[in-house]
Symmetry: C2
Subunit: 269 residues, 2 copies
């Protein structure tokens, strides 16, 4: 099991979260020694930082925390290897180009038997590593490809939601399936089940915090996010609440679409 | 015009080159303020660092120089924008997955009219940015795709060389076409023409330095590369000689294939 974190904001914001803090909040510090990654959208492209080493020991993490790029959409993942060796190619998030924009995916869970699941096969996109998570991403892009290739415009939110929703339903049949998927326009977050503090596998798999920051002369330093001065909407999604604020748990199988710091839709399984 | 640098070695090596030094050796310091990037292969995947800012001002460059990952194949590029805005998506090297491995491309030159050149079109891969260089990369992968998809083995060097050679010939018709292309197994380097110190556009477009380091108890610090103790073969390819050693200029249109610090083949146009 791994830890997920996403940030969406109305205006470009620096994500100064501590990956170590994220691990600490999960209550299982020290079990996430196998890799970390963070993707920062810049228009249709992403700056992607990944290492197959513990985030706590990493000079690159300290660089990203202190001087990472400003963005309106960031996705981060820390890994405890359950399937696949500790290599760069098995380190999330994964990023691939589709229709001239980078798509990003990060997953937490266990998708037993995905390699034998016919409707989650792929052709166009192939995994570089050996994780079930990257297999799932390739299968999702395979389904998305027809939609994006059939038009030069941005496919509608409903069209994209329909594909992501069916994909999520197919993953849930295999095992715990919490994921973050972004296409450069919208972030799709799916909460399912995860190993809870007591050791049982149960929902919630993700939590959401929405915050509005009023005008301010000085930047507001909140956990995880340095919000630029001025009005700003920021939305955080994480495996566990990172503050004492009122984080909303995802229902089992809930799929939320987010853009510019705002929830666009939330649909239950 | 931009600057290219590649390093291939028999055993994993840290590439501690200075991007600023590379620019300085070009004799046009200060003209390369528009971005830099470096790709470090780790098995079939790459750790890719890019910024649409001057290398000399970058904290990320200092991180990469001091603590970048060890590798047997690295490709770097510094940019002076001639086509396309100063954005991350226009910052090289470019990396895409084909057949489950990351392919990397960096180009220096000017490919006028590439968007109207029918046999350099693409379908499967689309540019994320707006440069002629990324257009060329998508066209190359389009040609490579059939070869890789038709087999589960590594296509032979001859098969791959044949495609790269024809691709290079097609680029040369458009304008200066120095490029580095790697498929995770082999590095293909093509030298053509570039803007020389005197201002004329002429060969050579690239230079090559091959060095063998005998056994040593201590690491050998050479310009650009920290060679681990012990016997090692290291090959450098750059836009301009970076030392006073005997760098061999590429002939106009020469295509060199490199792996594990050794030249596999070199063919003239």
């Amino acid at each position: 099991m791994c830890e997920l974190l996403a940030m969406s904001s109305r205006r470009p914001t620096r994500l100064t979260f501590s990956l170590e803090t994220l691990a600490a909040h999960s209550g299982r510090t020290g079990r996430y020694r196998d890799g970390w990654g963070a993707a920062f959208y810049q228009d249709n492209d992403v700056a992607l930082f990944r290492e197959p080493t513990a985030a706590g020991d990493s000079a690159l993490v300290r660089f990203v925390e202190a001087q990472g790029p400003g963005t309106t959409l960031a996705i981060s993942h820390i890994r405890r290897a359950t399937r696949g060796a500790v290599t760069l190619s098995n380190t999330q998030p994964f990023a691939r180009e589709l229709a001239g924009r980078m798509h990003v995916f990060a997953h937490n869970g266990d998708l037993s038997g995905i390699e034998r699941t016919g409707n989650l096969a792929f052709d166009h996109y192939r995994p570089v590593g050996t994780t079930d998570s990257e297999h799932a991403f390739c299968a999702l892009l395979e389904r998305m490809r027809g939609l994006w290739d059939s038009t030069s415009r941005l496919p509608s939110l409903d069209e994209r939601l329909s594909i992501v929703s069916q994909f999520a339903a197919d993953l849930r049949k295999l095992g715990p399936s919490n994921f973050l998927y972004a296409d450069g326009d919208t972030l799709f977050a799916h909460g399912h089940r995860r190993i809870q503090a007591a050791g049982d596998i149960a929902p919630p798999g993700l939590f959401l915090l929405s915050r509005r920051c009023a005008d301010a002369d000085e930047p507001v330093h909140a956990v995880g996010v340095t919000v630029a001065a001025g009005f700003q909407e920021v939305l955080l999604i994480a495996s566990v609440p990172l503050t004492d604020e009122n984080w909303r748990p995802f229902a089992e199988g809930e799929l939320v679409a987010v853009s510019a710091g705002q929830v666009l839709t939330a649909e239950l399984a």
